[in-house]
Amino acid sequence: MKRILIIEDDEILRGELARLLQNAGYDAVQMKDFQDAAAQMTAARADLILLDITLPGLNGETLLQEFRRSSDTPVIMLTSRTGELDEMLSMSYGADDYITKPYHPTILLLRISAVLKRAAKAVSAVQMYHDAEVSTVRGSVTRGQQEQILTKNEMIIFQQLLERRGEIVTRDDLMTALWDNEEYVNDNALSVNISRLRSKLAELGLPDAIETRKKQGYVLK
């Protein structure tokens, strides 16, 4: 389980962020006292840090600079400052992403998983699903001698499901991932893409791989 440290001084926001992350299957750790924040950041041994820019008595950017001297743990800045300059500064101090409040929860989760993947260099071209190889480079799923080519949309959907295998992935999550990749599909197109993906998997001898949970979403078994 990936551990995420939340550094945010607004108590309610911090609590809700922790709930969001826990629901999404992360281990959320909260920093409540900002004394010696840099040392706490290192001590937390987190896989990723969510850092607010404005903290009581200190500046998130300075904190980030200090932290960066000793660690390259990915950091996502969370901020209500909506200036291009703030973003440029944060990125130049070594932030991995910069998200402005109010963030849409599914977009935030998407960014978190993208940054974690980048950090783990897990963007390895090949992932396994049962005994099938999923290749993002070739855009295909191969099982034995058989290869099925997936369209870009199908691949995005399959990757989302695969990443959270066994969990419910909502249509909203899938839509967010598609739109984030400049694929502005509508509700119908999503259904069509999922049924195509299903039949392609079935042709590889993996029928019923994607289960529909009524009014909730999909689960990849």
């Binding site: 607004d10 969001l20 291009e84 300059l85 440029m88 849409h104 929860p105 739109w179 502005y184």
Partner: protein, 335 residues
């Protein structure tokens, strides 16, 4: 300064002089002095009088003419006192002194208002940052508790807050933006993602063409501008929005087109005016007339051109042009 007007202004003085002269003549005759004496005295007085008037007229004309032409040429007329040379006659010096005082007090007044305006702007910026915390909290709570119905309302609140922020930013002289190469594709995708739920609820299709390019702009500001245009398309019955970029030799033009109800031809030239709501605004009663006004002001500040075309019942198309001259040259590889 006109001689005739000047003489007319001195009419009373001339009448007094003439009266005095008549009195002098009466005295001269009363003392039985010869007629020649009267002629000599009269000539001397007349010459003296004419010389005095000419001298006075010329030196005043010099001063007032330069004052008038200066006032005409000046952009900011309140700087007049600073630009005027002090004359060598008393009234002129008085006038200059008063002008300087007035100018100084004017500058002080402006400075007070500028400071107040600046403080107000800072307060609004701070307030916007503060109010985003509870809005974020609400959004997370709704998501965590599975309250799906509230999200759109929260987004509306957020959109209104953004409008305030950019209204303040568009109005101040301060340069709080950064021009750098920005990917049109990225900015539009962020805007689309932000509006996804609302767009899908209205079943609006998005099409993009040729956005794989960079333009020189402030990404955040452009994101707000595209968000405003998207909001408008949603308000006014679009079923499809097409966003495309066109490369011209000296500029890149972004076309933002929808197939909504369009804008009546009479209203078209006025859509960027402050508080203009037009027939569409009245019919739909959702318009404040601020959105496009702010958009226009932001474009002006960033140095982008913006124009609109429309046919009622058919389409509305906004074109934003981004310069590509030496100063705006796009560096490869930068985002």
């Amino acid at each position: 300064m006109k001689l005739s007007a000047y003489l007319k202004d001195r009419l009373a003085a001339f009448l007094i002089a003439a009266g005095t002269w008549v009195l002098v003549l009466i005295f001269l005759f009363a003392f039985r002095l010869p007629g020649q004496a009267a002629v000599i005295v009269s000539t001397a007085a007349l010459c003296g009088g004419i010389c005095t008037v000419c001298w006075d007229f010329l030196r005043k004309k010099g001063f007032y003419d330069s004052l008038m032409s200066c006032a005409e040429q000046l952009d900011q007329k309140y700087l007049l006192a600073e630009m005027t040379e002090e004359p060598d006659f008393y009234e002129g010096r008085l006038l200059c002194e008063v002008l300087k005082d007035a100018g100084k007090s004017m500058c002080e007044q402006i400075a007070v208002h500028r400071r107040e305006n600046e403080a107000f702007r800072e307060y609004i910026e701070m307030w916007v940052h503060e109010v985003k915390l509870p809005v974020s909290g609400l959004e997370l709570m709704c998501h965590n508790d599975g309250l799906t119905g509230y999200e759109e309302q929260i987004k509306r609140v957020d959109a209104e807050i953004e409008t305030v922020l950019y209204y303040v930013r568009s109005g101040t002289a301060e340069k709080d933006y950064i021009i750098r190469p920005v990917s049109l594709k990225r900015i539009f995708s962020e805007t689309a993602l932000k509006h996804r739920a609302a767009l899908q609820a209205r079943n609006i299709a998005l099409r993009t063409e040729g956005l794989d390019c960079e333009v020189m702009t402030d990404g955040k500001w452009l994101g707000f501008i595209l968000g405003q245009l998207t909001d408008n398309s949603m308000k006014y019955g679009a079923a499809e929005i097409t966003v495309s970029a066109e490369q011209l030799p000296e500029k890149t033009v972004l076309h933002f087109r929808d197939n909504g109800i369009g804008i009546p031809a009479d209203d078209l030239p006025k859509v960027f005016q402050k508080s203009f709501t037009g027939q569409n605004g009245h019919r739909h009663a959702k318009s404040t007339g601020m959105g496009l006004y702010i958009v226009k002001k932001l474009c002006e500040k960033l140095g982008h051109g913006i124009s609109v075309r429309s046919a009622e019942g058919a389409y509305t198309e906004f074109c934003i042009s981004f310069g590509r001259d030496e100063l705006h040259s796009v560096r490869p590889g930068a985002v």
